[in-house]
C-alpha cells in the first residue's frame, strides 16, 4: 500500500526526467532494490519515456552515420598513435640513460703518455731523415758560398784584364 503511494507521488517521474535531487536519486535506488513492484513500475516508465521520444523523433539526413563512423575511427586512430608513441619515447630515454651509464668519466693524474710500440720505427725514420736533411742543407749552403766567392774572384780578374 505504502509503495503504491510512493509510485504515485511523482518521485519516479522526476528521477526519469533527470531533475531529481541527490537525496531523491538515492531514495529511488534503494526503493528499486527493496521493492520489486517499484522496480517494475520504474522500468515501465523508462520504457514509456523512450516510446514517447520515438514519437517525437526526426529522421537524420543521409550520410550522418558515415560522418559519425569516420569521426570515431579518427579518434581511435589518434588514440592508437598516442599509445604507440609513448612507449617509444620512454625507450629512447632509457637508451640515453644506459649509454651514459656505460662510459665512466676518468680524470687522469699521470703526466706520462702511453704510445703504441709501432710508432717507435716511425720516430726513428723521422729522426734519421731529419739528420739527412740537415746535413744536405749544410752541404748545399757551403757549396753555394764557395760558388759565390769564385764568381767574385772571376769578376775581379775580368775587370783587371779589361784595364
Amino acid at each position: 500500500m505504502e509503495i503504491n503511494k510512493i509510485i504515485e507521488s511523482g518521485l519516479m517521474e522526476t528521477y526519469v526526467m533527470g531533475i531529481a535531487t541527490e537525496e531523491e536519486v538515492q531514495k529511488v535506488l534503494s526503493l528499486k532494490k527493496e521493492f520489486p513492484a517499484f522496480k517494475d513500475a520504474l522500468e515501465q516508465l523508462e520504457y514509456d519515456i523512450e516510446v514517447l521520444a520515438q514519437s517525437m523523433s526526426i529522421e537524420p539526413p543521409a550520410g550522418t552515420l558515415a560522418k559519425i563512423e569516420h569521426e570515431i575511427n579518427e579518434i581511435q586512430r589518434r588514440n592508437q598513435a598516442v599509445q604507440t608513441a609513448e612507449p617509444e619515447s620512454r625507450h629512447d630515454k632509457n637508451d640515453q640513460e644506459n649509454k651514459q651509464e656505460r662510459y665512466i668519466e676518468v680524470e687522469s693524474e699521470s703526466n706520462q703518455m702511453r704510445v703504441n710500440k709501432a710508432w717507435k720505427w716511425v720516430f726513428i725514420a723521422v729522426f734519421v731523415l731529419g739528420k739527412v736533411f740537415l746535413a744536405s742543407a749544410i752541404y748545399f749552403y757551403l757549396e753555394n758560398r764557395q760558388a759565390q766567392e769564385q764568381i767574385k774572384e772571376l769578376k775581379i780578374e775580368l775587370k783587371q784584364k779589361i784595364r
Binding site: 517521474e13 514517447l52 520515438q54 526526426i58 570515431i72 586512430r77
Partner: protein, 151 residues
C-alpha cells in the same frame, strides 16, 4: 586497406549502426527541441553521438537505461542552449508528437523539464506556484501521454 596496413582495430561498425538506427532519430528530435535550428541540430547530433559512443558505448560504462543516459548526456553537452533563462513557452520547432494532448500549463512544465532540465523549485519560483503542484502537473502530463500510447 589503410586499416589493414596500419593494423588499427576500428569501432565495431555493427554496434554503431545498431545504436545509430535505434537512437539517432530520437536524439535528433530531442536536440531539435532544445536548439530549434535544423542545421545546428544535425551538427550537434554528429558531435554528441560520436562522443557518447566513444565515452559510454565503447567503454561499456552505461549504468542507466541507455536512452535516459543519452538524453542526460546530450543535455549536458547543450548547456549553451539550455543555460539561458527559459521563457516557458512550448517550443515551436518541436515535432509535437503527443505533446498536443497536453494543456498549455502541462506543455510548459513538460518542455521546461524535458528539454531544458529545469528543476521543480526553479519552475515553482518562475511560475509563482507550489512545488507539489508543479510535480503533480509533470506527473499528469507524463501519464496523459503514456495513456495515449496504450500504457
Amino acid at each position: 586497406m589503410f586499416k589493414a596496413v596500419l593494423n588499427i582495430p576500428s569501432a565495431e561498425p555493427k554496434d554503431i549502426r545498431w545504436f545509430y538506427d535505434q537512437y539517432a532519430p530520437m536524439l535528433l528530435g530531442y536536440i531539435n527541441g532544445i536548439v530549434q535550428d535544423h542545421q545546428k541540430s544535425e551538427d550537434q547530433l554528429v558531435s554528441i553521438l560520436t562522443s557518447f559512443v566513444k565515452d559510454v558505448v565503447l567503454q561499456e560504462k552505461s549504468r542507466l537505461n541507455i536512452w535516459l543516459e543519452l538524453r542526460q548526456y546530450a543535455q549536458s553537452k547543450l548547456t549553451l542552449f539550455t543555460a539561458k533563462d527559459h521563457h516557458l513557452k512550448p517550443n515551436q520547432f518541436v515535432n509535437q508528437g503527443k505533446l498536443d494532448l497536453l494543456d498549455d500549463l502541462q506543455k510548459q512544465i513538460f518542455c521546461a523539464v524535458y528539454y531544458h532540465g529545469k528543476s521543480i523549485p526553479y519552475l515553482a519560483a518562475k511560475m509563482d506556484s507550489d512545488e507539489n503542484e508543479i510535480r503533480n502537473q509533470l506527473k499528469l502530463s507524463i501519464d496523459k501521454m503514456r495513456r495515449a500510447s496504450g500504457n
